[in-house]
């Protein structure tokens, strides 16, 4: 019996071909567009978070207690080197790095600007967050007096490869010290703070400039996927300020939440309209065949079998639409994941806001599963109203009726 019902449902689904094709196009177009937008927005947020982690805070960062409020040398971590070794010995830790940061004035022959000098170990940074991937122009070279400059700072100071800059800041004794640097590379991290103000130099030059020992650091950054590590470090080092990435960058968390809310609202509205579309088609499709259903009831077919047939028709229609939508959606997402959405004509704005000029989409399995359940639910629900109509039918009156 079920085989017969399935066969009838299948044939009826494509009985009015133009109508069916319109519904399939509606589902496929709306679903693929929605998936592309969802993937693009997720991709933007994920890319930003990933690069922010790799370029600065890692999964966890450790500072001396008052450093984040007063960024002074006296608030640096004094025993950072032994601490680093200790943390490296924790099994779940993937990488640990030390950074020394100082704020001051960066000047060229013609321009000056507020800047932040970051002493880094290039090899350790490479292991920590593939630092070389942030290179926008030039080369990663901080040997001698080489410096890497954030892309926005380079624009402000009109710097290019080979430009000379003087950075002045206060050393550990409160004296103003300066260092002459040569720009070897321009860096784009998509971390606004770094892109607009950072100058990266060799950490050894930083020790000399600030007159501090190599055991000192302003920040210890840790890469680890271990979710328990944060609590462990907080307990182990209560005298230090141990923070997770999202605690340090609440804006990223908010951005992620906003993307989620926006995608959820879009998803809900689109699925609601898709539901209305399927409902309309199903309703008319049932009304067109009221006599047919009356005859079926008249020759003894149980209502439950008619119900299964109508639900199956709706599901077949929605599922076929879903398949097309999923295919187009995957194609869109693959294209946007590989080639991205090129917005380089708005480069200035995007870069100053910490975005890349080409936005790449991410693909998640959940996009397809969520949409599948939503479309299936919409299809089953859309059969409910026509079914109520069928249930109330009197077979004799229906057979007599002229539709």
């Amino acid at each position: 019996m079920f085989k017969l019902i399935l066969k009838m449902a299948w044939k009826n689904s494509f009985l009015r071909l133009s109508r069916t094709i319109l519904v399939l196009i509606m589902i496929a177009v709306s679903m693929s567009m929605m998936l592309a937008i969802e993937g693009l927005y997720d991709g933007m947020a994920e890319n930003m978070i990933n690069k922010n982690k790799r370029s600065e805070s890692g999964d966890i960062s450790i500072y001396a207690k008052d450093y984040r409020i007063n960024k002074e040398i006296k608030h640096f971590i004094k025993d950072a080197l032994p601490l680093k070794r200790e943390i490296e010995n924790i099994k779940s830790v993937q990488a640990v790095i030390l950074r020394v940061n100082a704020e001051g004035l960066a000047s060229t022959a013609r321009k000056s600007s507020f800047a932040s000098l970051n002493g880094i170990d290039v090899n350790a940074e490479e292991k920590f967050g593939k630092f070389s991937e942030f290179l926008h122009e030039g080369e990663i070279d901080v040997s001698k007096r080489g410096a890497l400059v954030g892309i926005e700072l380079a624009k402000t100071l009109k710097l290019h490869i080979g430009s000379k800059i003087i950075f002045s800041t206060q050393d550990t004794h409160g004296e103003i010290n300066s260092i002459a640097l040569k720009v070897k590379g321009i860096i784009q991290t998509t971390n606004i703070k770094l892109d607009t103000s950072a100058i990266f130099i060799d950490i050894k030059n930083m020790y000399k400039l600030l007159d501090i020992t190599n055991a000192t650091a302003s920040q210890i950054s840790i890469m680890s996927e271990d979710t328990q590590l944060l609590e462990l470090l907080k307990q182990k080092y209560p005298q230090l300020d141990v923070k997770s990435f999202l605690e340090l960058q609440p804006m990223m968390k908010m951005m992620q939440d906003m993307m989620f809310i926006f995608n959820s609202i879009t998803f809900f509205i689109v699925m609601l309209v898709v539901f209305v579309g399927i409902l309309g088609v199903m309703y008319v499709s049932i009304l067109d065949r009221v006599r047919e259903f009356g005859i079926m009831r008249g020759i003894g077919m149980a209502y439950k079998h008619i119900r299964i047939q109508i639900i199956l028709e709706s599901v077949i229609l929605a599922f076929t639409g879903y398949i097309f939508g999923a295919i187009f959606g995957i194609l869109f997402l693959l294209y946007l994941g590989e080639y991205g959405l090129d917005l380089s004509s708005f480069a200035d704005a995007l870069e100053s806001f910490g975005y890349e000029t080409v936005l790449y989409a991410s693909i998640k399995f959940s996009y397809f599963t969520n949409t599948f359940f939503a479309i299936m639910a919409a299809s089953v629900l859309s059969a409910w109203l026509p079914l109520r109509k069928i249930k109330k039918l009197n077979p004799i009156e229906v057979i007599k009726a002229q539709i």
Binding site: K111, F114, A115, S168, I176, I269, V270, G280, F346
Partner: protein, 406 residues
């Protein structure tokens, strides 16, 4: 034909209600969403212009790209005289900006020092209104700093404390002096407040050998809409190839681009909603048409032309769309108007996005009747497009086939 269309609308209630509701929803969505986008962009721009950037600024060519003392405006008084004859300019002032190192007893930091004409500046920007402690500058202020709160915090100083200034004068000589903190301000712009200190231009000109010189002249216009016309007048009055007069559209290119990008994403999302709704309206129209094939066959048989059938469909969608818009437009307009006067406030949003230059928690809507009218036209256009396929479908039947259609 019109009355027949009206009768059809009343007769096919299901399709009429669905089309009405979907058109109503899409109209509200489009008008309100666009109003919110435009309003928030306008507010961002106005806030930025209010703080410091002028609607028009006059530079010596090369100052913005290369910078340095040789690109300072050298004869400010002459330019000021020329500007005084141009209609539409509310006020103007010259500014001298330089970067310098400031040191308190304990701390040093880099800062932008802006020498301003305090009386004129008070009319042009919101710097004076942003006063939080102490006093604003006046023309006779001597070695007084009016400093952003963020900068004050960095230097760890309070009113009356001394700050050492070390910089380069306009003749490239070394300049140094002791200043006192006379007042503090908070504009809400995170970067501006933590890097900027103002000083009276009269006093600073002596220190920097910058009499009759300026980095640029900032201009406020009576009406922002006329900014391009006024800028053209300025260019012709100045008649000097070594100078450039730029409007906010160039000065704030980054912000303008950012708003464009934001609009692009907004319109992409809107397009998704409108396309889905368009399809559903078309499907309802098509389903309705396909159940009336026989009726159209009979109408054609008694002499109705294809054009008349198109007219019938057109009138049906016109009436339904107009009815929906008649309800949606006043409602959406009221929402836009209400929120343009009483902006939505999201507490903490400016603090959260301070690095992005967001200075207010308010999200005002824009109430622009012409914009609402254009959006209504888009809805009409989409609904008219939705009858094309159903019409084409009817067109494929001959009158005989149509009248026999079951």
């Amino acid at each position: 034909m019109f009355s027949l269309a009206f009768k059809n609308i009343v007769f096919y209630k299901g399709r009429s209600v669905a089309t009405f509701l979907l058109t109503f929803i899409s109209s509200i969505l489009l008008i309100v969403y666009v109003s919110m986008m435009d309003g928030s962009h306008k507010s961002m721009l106005e806030n930025a212009l209010k703080i410091y950037t002028g609607a028009i600024e006059i530079y010596k060519k090369g100052y913005r790209d290369i910078g340095g003392n040789e690109y300072l405006l050298k004869d400010v008084e002459t330019i000021n005289k020329k500007l005084s004859h141009i209609n539409g300019i509310e006020t103007y002032t010259s500014r001298y900006e330089t970067y310098a190192l400031l040191s308190s007893k304990e701390y040093s930091t880099a800062s932008m020092i802006a020498a301003i004409e305090p009386d004129k500046e008070a009319k042009l920007s919101s710097i004076k209104k942003a006063l939080t402690q102490g006093v604003f500058l006046n023309t006779n202020s001597k070695n007084c700093f009016y400093m952003g709160e963020g900068l004050v915090k960095k230097l760890n100083i309070k009113l009356g404390d001394e700050v050492a200034f070390v910089g380069t004068a306009s003749d490239d000589s070394f300049a140094a002096n002791l200043f006192k903190l006379c007042g503090t301000f908070k504009t809400g712009s995170f970067e501006f407040d933590s890097t900027t200190a103002f000083v009276s231009k009269n006093y600073f000109d002596e220190l920097m050998y910058a009499q009759n010189k300026a980095s640029y002249i900032s201009i406020k216009v009576n009406d922002l809409k006329n900014v391009d016309t006024i800028n053209n007048q300025i260019n012709s009055v100045l008649n000097d190839n070594s100078l450039e007069s730029l409007t906010w559209k160039t000065l704030m290119k980054t912000m303008v681009e950012a708003m464009e990008v934001d609009s692009i994403f907004g319109y992409i999302s809107l397009a998704l909603f409108l396309i889905v709704i368009f399809f559903v309206i078309m499907i309802y129209g098509f389903v309705n048409i396909s159940s009336r094939i026989k009726e159209f066959g009979v109408l054609e048989s008694i002499g109705l032309s294809k054009i008349n059938i198109f007219k019938l469909l057109f009138y049906e969608i016109l009436i339904l769309t107009s009815l929906a818009i008649l309800v949606a437009m006043p409602l959406a307009s009221y929402i836009c108007y209400y929120y343009s006067i009483n902006p939505i406030i999201i507490d903490g949003i400016s603090d959260m996005y301070k690095e992005y230059g967001i200075v207010s928690d308010e999200i005002p809507f824009a109430f622009e009747p012409l914009r609402i009218f254009y959006n209504v036209l888009i809805i009409y256009l989409l609904n008219f497009l939705s009858i094309l396929y159903p019409y084409y479908y009817i067109h494929t039947f001959t009158p005989l086939e149509a009248s026999k259609h079951v």
